[in-house]
Amino acid sequence: MTQTFLLGLDGASYTVLRPLIDGSADEGVVMPYLAGLVADGYSATLRSTAHPLTPPAWTSVCTGRTPGHHGIYDFVRFEDMGDDIYFTLYDSRDIRCETLWQIAGRAGKTVASLNFPMMAPPQEVNGALVPGFVSWKHLRRNTWPRELYDRIKTLDGFDPREMSWDFERESQIGDVMPDDELHDWVEKHLPRDHQWFNIGLHLLREDNPDLMALMLDGTDKIQHQAWHVLDPRYWNPSEASHGRKKVRALVLDYFRGLDGYIRELHQAAGPDCQFVIVSDHGFTGAEKVVRINKYLESLGVLAWRAHDGSEAARRRDLANFANLDWTRTRAYCPTPSSNGVVIRVKSDKNPGGVDPAEYESFRAGLIAELLALRDPETGEAVIREVLKREDAFPGPAMGQAPDLTLVLSDHGFVSVRNLAPAVVTRPVPMGTHHPDGIFIMTGPGVRRAQGAVLSIVDTTAIVAHGLGLDIPADFEGRVPDDLFDGAWLTEHPVRIGGQTAAQDGTPAHDGDEADEDQREEVLAQLRLLGYLED
């Protein structure tokens, strides 16, 4: 019997879900089953990682540790080579902590983990693992155990092209689309969740893993592009065009379908299973484009790479990677998803960097300048907070974090493109991540209540407890006092004990000669992908 079902809904937010479950949406109750789970169970706001982004946040769910410990900060990590910056992709080998799947396996529990990011290449688990964010062509090689792929291949309707990451389609997130194009874009995203749901349901019924963990990410993708038809602040049916109403109808069909997936999974798991629904972050609408590197240029700490007019140079300028003259750059934002500013410290390979003795004063000055950035239309601050890495990401992996993390006033992601002006208003609000996600839980011993704000790392402690495990002492989360009833806690006291298995504390990609080769492979991969131009 499956003891715990962890259902991840990427980017799920009460802002969207509440009107769909309480009937205040124009269309009435769109998600009746979820409404029932909320009414009968425990729900709370789930506060994400300091920078609410999919890779660090889901890795926190999977490890019970914050990014300063697990070491994942972004989709992309970067290495300063002095005269150039190498951008590489984070993967499972960069996670410095043991995952919940491994912890449960060590305790003799069986696990199925489906569609969680940063899980490729797959590590051995006591059960099944299919990672998310992998191209369909490489799913077999990244599935654990390899034979599992042959099993899921036999499922009715199985189509790996539909379930896996389409780099071209994902790269369109952030583009402004006309309604008909947006309708098509949303439509193409609908089958992916169905594919993962189908595999999840199959493994749940066939294998009955002690821990079933499934992540569905249609919520995130659709909210990014279609936020303006979802957020009650922006949706006004009396002013919406026919095309826009069609988009909303399709998006709500997606949420209706999602409610059906939740119903089937919950019913298949059975009444004796603790069912936990979490998101990695919430969502909100961003109204401004903030070209942060343009602003840093105006401060005299950044210089763009000279443009030779070639097609390659044009593509570099439009890429989502900072394209800079590294010999004249002392502070820069590497990627939009990072919302980070990296300060380049002086060294033998980087003689133009900030002198270590001046680092603190340079950083303090930069923070003041960043907070001073104003929206020319309103005169209001564009950046609400600048987080120092020792405050946002304390831990042994802090050194891999950007020196500063920016929280924009509208929670948007920055742009790293070489365009002016530094701050402009978007034609339509774009969905962006908000730190406040969702936590909903039902099942044996779970109280019917609305709890206080939880931390994303609490999720891992709660799931570990539900599995009957001692919560490792180095987990950073806790089981809330009001989550379970007294009878449950008498029979199942929350026990803290032991540690997660020791890790070597260094990313798999760093260090020795073999890892250098590995890095070269990834660099080659990125170049071939067009992320880096020669």
Partner: protein, 91 residues
């Protein structure tokens, strides 16, 4: 491992690699991975990793095969990959 076994292993790895791609192509030494097998750039790198895994994780320095005169090449035949791997194993 002798050259014939290396060549067979490379071919078998490639055949397994594209098993689920729904291609009709027959794999021969002259098969070109981009033109005939619809490889994307990321697939080329994944294939090199798969071949290295099939050889027990041995690093073969595929950059030497993939780059010519400082530029990444456009296409490769299976024979070129086999020759490269066989030469590295023999060295």
């Amino acid at each position: 491992m002798d050259a014939a076994k290396v060549r067979a292993l490379v071919q078998a790895t490639l055949e397994e690699f594209i098993e689920d791609w729904g291609l009709e192509a027959e794999i021969k030494p002259e098969t070109r991975i981009v033109e005939d097998l619809e490889f994307d750039s990321i697939d080329v790198i994944q294939l090199t990793v798969a071949i290295e895994s099939a050889l027990g994780g041995r690093k073969l320095g595929f950059q030497d095969l993939l780059m010519r005169d400082g530029r990444y090449i456009d296409d490769l035949s299976l024979r070129e990959v086999q020759d490269f791997v066989a030469a590295k194993i023999a060295a």
